[in-house]
C-alpha cells in the first residue's frame, strides 16, 4: 500500500512539475499586447456593430481605407463600374482563408453582405441595391437601381465584414465571429475586454504579437493609470492635459493624429445679421484660430481652412485659410452697414445693436471654453455675443428651430469615407433646409449642382475636382467658419514599435505593432 502511495506521489509530482514547465515555456513564447480604449462593442455580431471587429483586425471588409482617408483594396483586389453606373464588379483576393480554414469566396461574401444589409439596420439604406450576385468564386456583382458612386466607400464600413458560415448558430445568430483578419477572435466579456490571437495564415502581413487584450476603460484617467502601472502598453484617446505629462517623461511615446472631425461655427443664414455674406466673412476674419489651438487645446489640434484636414485625399489643399485680421473684419462689417454710432463699443445698424447668441454644448468638453474665447474675440470687433451652453440635444433642438445666430459644433466628417454623405447632408440645399449640422438654411445653386454631379459621376478624379470646387465656394460664401480639426492622442510605452494612428480610426493595424 505504501509503495503504491509513493508511486502515485512521484507521478503527481512529475505531472505538477511538467505542467509548471509547460506553462512557463508558453508564457515565454507568447507575446501579449495589452491596450485600452473607451469603446465597448455592443454585440458580438459584427454585422450589427462591427467597428471593434474591424479595429482589432478579426474581421475584414471588401474595401479598406488608407491613411489619406481614401478607399483602398482589401478583400477585393479591384473593382469597376459599368458605364451606366449601375453595375459594380468586385474581383476578390484568391489567397484568403477564414480563421476556421474555410476558403473565402464570392458566395460567402454575398451571404455576408445580404445578412449585414438586414442586421445593420439603416447603415446601408441609402444604397439602392437591387441584387447581389456571385457568378464565380472570385467575382461579386452588385446591381443597383440607380448610380451610386460612393458604393465602395460604404463597403469599407465595418458592418459589411465577411464572416465564415461557421460563425452562426442554427437561428442565424453569431456565436463566434470567424473572419479573415490578421487576428482571430478569442473571447469577449461585455464592458470588460476583447481578446484576439494572431492568425498565422493571414494573407497580408502576419502579426508580431501573439495575443492582444483590448481592455474597455471608459475613463481617460483610468487608462492613464493603467499605462503608469504598465498594465497596458497603449492608452488610446487621452486628453491634452494627460498627454502633456508624458511628453517629457522617459519610457513613453506620445502620438497624435488629426482625425476626420472639425470644430466649426454654423451661421443662421436665414436671418440678420448672418444673412449677409460680409458679416459671416467678418466673423471668420475676427477669430484667432492659432490662439484657440494654443491656449484652449494645449496645442493638440490643427487650425482649419476647409472642411477636411489637409492630410485627407478629399481635402481641397488649395484653400487659403481666413487669416486673423480684425481690421478686415471691421471694414467688412462697416460695408454691411454695422457701425458704432453711439460709441458704446457695440456696432449697430438702424438703431439695433449687433447682439447675437452663440449656442454650444459641453459633451465635447472643450467647446464651451472655445465659445468663451470666440465671445471675447468677437467683442474686439464690436459684436456682442451671448453664450448658451446647453446639453447637446437641447442645443440641437434650438438649432433645428432656428433659435440661434451661431452654432459651435464638433462635426464628424467621414463616417463613410466618401464626401457624398457629409456634403449632401450639410451643404446641399436638400440637407441644409432640413437637418445636418453644417450650413443652416443655406442655398447655393453652384454647390448644389456640383454635389449632384459628383453623385452621378463614377470617375474618382473628376469627383475630386467637383468636391474641391464645392469646398472652395463654401469657404468663400462662409455659411460656416471652420476653426480646427480634432486630434486623437494615444500614448504608448516606448517598447512599442510600428503603432500608427489612423485618421478615420478605420483600423488599429496591430499586425504592424511589435514589442521590442
Amino acid at each position: 500500500m505504501k509503495k503504491k502511495e509513493g508511486f502515485l506521489f512521484i507521478l503527481l509530482a512529475f505531472v505538477v512539475m511538467g505542467a509548471g514547465c509547460t506553462e512557463q515555456e508558453q508564457q515565454e513564447e507568447l507575446q501579449t499586447l495589452s491596450i485600452s480604449g473607451q469603446w465597448s462593442p455592443n454585440t458580438i455580431d459584427p454585422h450589427q456593430s462591427g467597428y471593434i471587429a474591424q479595429r482589432l483586425g478579426y474581421a475584414e471588409t471588401l474595401v479598406g481605407v488608407n491613411y489619406e482617408g481614401k478607399i483602398a483594396p482589401n478583400l477585393a483586389k479591384s473593382w469597376e463600374v459599368s458605364d451606366d453606373g449601375k453595375n459594380w464588379t468586385f474581383i476578390l483576393r484568391e489567397d484568403v482563408l477564414f480563421h476556421d480554414g474555410t476558403p473565402f469566396t464570392a458566395g460567402i461574401m454575398k451571404n455576408s453582405l445580404e445578412r449585414s444589409l438586414v442586421r445593420s439596420e439603416s447603415i446601408f439604406e441609402k444604397i439602392p441595391i437591387s441584387a447581389i450576385e456571385a457568378p464565380d468564386d472570385r467575382t461579386l456583382v452588385i446591381r443597383l437601381e440607380s448610380p451610386f458612386p460612393a458604393l465602395p466607400a460604404y463597403f469599407s464600413k465595418a458592418e459589411s465584414v465577411a464572416l465564415a458560415p461557421g460563425s452562426y448558430d442554427e437561428d442565424g445568430n453569431v456565436l463566434k465571429p470567424i473572419g479573415t483578419g490578421p487576428f482571430s477572435f478569442e473571447s469577449w466579456k461585455p464592458e470588460e475586454e476583447v481578446v484576439v490571437v494572431k492568425n498565422p495564415d493571414y494573407w497580408g502581413q502576419t502579426a508580431s504579437v501573439d495575443k492582444v487584450i483590448y481592455r474597455i476603460m471608459p475613463e481617460a484617467l483610468t487608462r492613464k493609470m493603467l499605462l503608469d502601472s504598465k498594465e497596458i502598453k497603449i492608452a488610446m484617446i487621452l486628453s491634452p492635459e494627460i498627454a502633456e505629462e508624458y511628453t517629457e517623461k522617459d519610457g513613453y511615446t506620445v502620438l497624435q493624429q488629426p482625425i476626420a472631425r472639425v470644430r466649426m461655427l454654423g451661421f443662421n443664414t436665414e436671418r440678420e445679421p448672418f444673412d449677409d455674406k460680409r458679416v459671416r466673412q467678418a466673423v471668420n476674419y475676427a477669430i484667432d484660430r492659432e490662439a484657440i489651438v494654443t491656449y484652449v487645446l494645449h496645442g493638440y489640434g490643427t487650425t482649419a481652412a476647409g472642411l477636411f484636414p489637409t492630410g485627407f485625399y478629399w481635402a481641397n489643399k488649395e484653400i487659403a485659410p481666413y487669416t486673423y485680421d480684425t481690421e478686415k473684419a471691421k471694414s467688412l462689417l462697416e460695408e454691411a452697414g454695422w457701425t458704432d454710432t453711439n460709441g458704446d463699443g457695440t456696432l449697430d445698424k438702424n438703431g439695433n445693436p449687433l447682439k447675437i447668441t452663440l449656442i454650444t454644448y459641453p459633451e465635447r468638453a472643450e467647446l464651451p471654453s472655445i465659445a468663451e474665447v470666440i465671445q471675447q474675440q468677437l467683442k474686439n470687433v464690436g459684436i456682442d455675443t451671448e453664450l448658451q451652453v446647453l446639453n447637446v440635444d437641447a442645443a440641437n433642438s434650438l438649432r433645428n428651430q432656428g433659435d440661434f445666430d451661431i452654432f459651435l459644433v464638433g462635426r464628424g466628417l467621414l463616417f463613410v469615407p466618401d464626401p457624398d454623405e457629409i456634403m449632401m447632408t450639410d451643404y446641399h440645399s436638400s440637407g441644409t433646409s432640413t437637418d445636418g449640422w453644417g450650413a443652416y438654411r443655406w442655398y447655393n445653386e453652384s454647390v448644389d449642382g456640383l454635389l449632384e454631379e459628383a453623385r452621378t459621376t463614377s470617375d474618382m478624379a473628376v469627383r475630386k475636382e467637383l468636391y474641391d470646387e464645392a469646398q472652395a465656394i463654401i469657404v468663400e460664401e462662409a455659411p460656416v467658419a471652420y476653426l480646427n480639426y480634432y486630434v486623437n492622442i494615444d500614448v504608448t510605452t516606448s517598447d512599442i514599435e510600428g503603432y500608427r494612428l489612423h485618421p478615420t480610426e478605420y483600423s488599429l493595424y496591430l499586425e504592424n505593432v511589435s514589442i521590442v
Binding site: S40, N42, T43, Q48, S49, Y51, E121, S122, I123, E125, K126, K189, P190, E191, E192, E193, R215, I216, M217, P218, E219, L221, T222, M225, L226, D228, S229, E231, L390, N391, V392, D393, A394, N396, S397, R411, G412, F415, T425, G431, D435, G436, W437
Partner: protein, 313 residues
C-alpha cells in the same frame, strides 16, 4: 408584528408607483428625441435616416399621449418585461442581471471594510474620549467626508496600484480587482459609522446597567464586550443597513473610474447614449433595492428593539 410587516409591505406599493412615475417623467421630459439619439448611438452617424426615426418612434410608443405611454410601459414592467437595450439588443433584464452581481459584491465588500475599520476605531475613540486618538479619528472623519469620491479613487489608484503595485488599477478579474474600489466606496461610510459608533458607545457606557455591572466588580473588558457592545452596536448596524442601498448609488462614479461592469456603469453608459429602457430599468432596480433594504432594516429594528415593536402594536 404581522400587521406591521403587512403595513410596511403595502406602503411600498405607492412608493414604487411614485418612483416609476418620476422615472418615466424624467425620461419623457428629457430634451432631444430619444429615437434619434438611439439611432445616432447605434448607427454611429449624426444624421440618422428619417424613415428609421419614424419607425423607432412608433416602436417605442413615443407618439402616444404620456399616460398611455406610461400605462403601456408599466404594464410591460409588471409582466417582467423591461424592454430591450437599443445598444446591445439584449433585454434590459439580462443587462441588469449581468451587472447586478458586480455592484452587489462591491457594496458588500465596502460594508465589510467600513465595519472593520469604523467599529473598532469608534469604540476606541469612545473609550479614550477627548484623547489624541479621538481627535485623530474626528479629523480623519472630516477629511474623509469632505474628499470627493473621484479624488479618493485617484489617490488609491496612485498609491495602491502604481507606487505600491499591490492591486490592479482597474478592470475585472479576481477579488483583488474589488479592493481599491471597495476601499474608495467605504471611506465616506466609515467616517459616519465611526462617529455613530463613538456616540452610541459613550451613551451606552453612561447607562445604569453598565454602572451596576461595574459595581459588581466586573472587569472593564468584560463590561464592554458582554454588556455595552451589543446595545451600542444596534444604531450602528441599522445605519450601515440603510447605507447599503446608498452604496449602490455611490457605485455609479466608482464603477466608471475602476471600469467595473456593474449597475452604476450600466446606468452611466445608458444615460449617455439615451438607452431609455435600460436607464428606466436601472433606476427602478436601484429604487427597488433601496426600498427593500429599508424594509429589511425596519424589520430588523423591530426584532432587535422590543420597545418599537410594542409601540407598533
Amino acid at each position: 408584528m404581522h400587521t406591521i410587516i403587512l403595513n410596511r409591505l403595502l406602503q411600498m406599493v405607492p412608493v414604487m408607483i411614485g418612483i416609476s412615475l418620476i422615472t418615466f417623467a424624467v425620461i419623457s421630459l428629457s430634451p432631444g428625441d430619444p429615437a434619434e439619439i438611439t439611432l445616432r448611438a447605434t448607427l454611429g452617424t449624426e444624421s440618422p435616416p428619417k424613415e428609421a426615426i419614424a419607425r423607432l418612434h412608433e416602436e417605442m410608443g413615443l407618439d402616444d399621449p404620456w399616460y398611455i405611454s406610461y400605462m403601456k410601459w408599466a404594464s410591460r414592467v409588471l409582466h417582467g418585461n423591461l424592454g430591450y437595450s437599443y445598444q446591445t439588443k439584449r433585454s434590459t433584464i439580462e443587462e441588469i442581471a449581468y451587472a447586478l452581481p458586480t455592484t452587489f459584491e462591491l457594496a458588500f465588500l465596502s460594508i465589510i471594510f467600513s465595519a472593520a475599520t469604523a467599529i473598532p476605531l469608534g469604540i476606541l475613540a469612545a473609550l479614550r474620549q477627548n484623547g489624541p486618538l479621538d481627535h485623530l479619528c474626528r479629523l480623519s472623519s472630516i477629511i474623509s467626508l469632505s474628499s470627493p469620491e473621484y479624488f479618493v479613487a485617484i489617490v488609491f489608484m496612485l498609491v495602491g496600484g502604481i507606487y505600491l503595485g499591490i492591486f490592479p488599477v482597474a478592470g475585472t478579474g479576481g477579488i483583488e480587482y474589488f479592493i481599491l474600489p471597495a476601499l474608495t466606496l467605504s471611506i465616506g461610510l466609515s467616517a459616519v459609522t465611526m462617529r455613530i459608533m463613538r456616540t452610541s458607545m459613550i451613551e451606552t457606557l453612561e447607562q445604569d446597567y453598565i454602572r451596576t455591572a461595574r459595581a459588581k466588580g466586573l472587569s472593564r473588558r468584560i463590561v464592554i464586550q458582554r454588556h455595552a457592545l451589543k446595545n451600542a452596536l444596534i444604531p450602528v448596524l441599522i445605519y450601515m443597513g440603510t447605507q447599503f442601498g446608498w452604496l449602490f448609488g455611490g457605485a455609479v462614479i466608482i464603477e466608471s473610474m475602476f471600469a467595473l461592469p456593474g449597475l452604476g456603469r450600466l446606468l452611466v453608459e445608458s444615460v449617455s447614449s439615451m438607452d431609455i429602457m435600460v436607464v428606466q430599468g436601472c433606476i427602478l432596480t436601484f429604487a427597488a433595492i433601496i426600498v427593500l433594504i429599508n424594509l429589511g432594516v425596519d424589520l430588523a429594528q423591530l426584532y432587535l428593539d422590543p420597545s418599537i415593536r410594542d409601540q407598533g402594536e
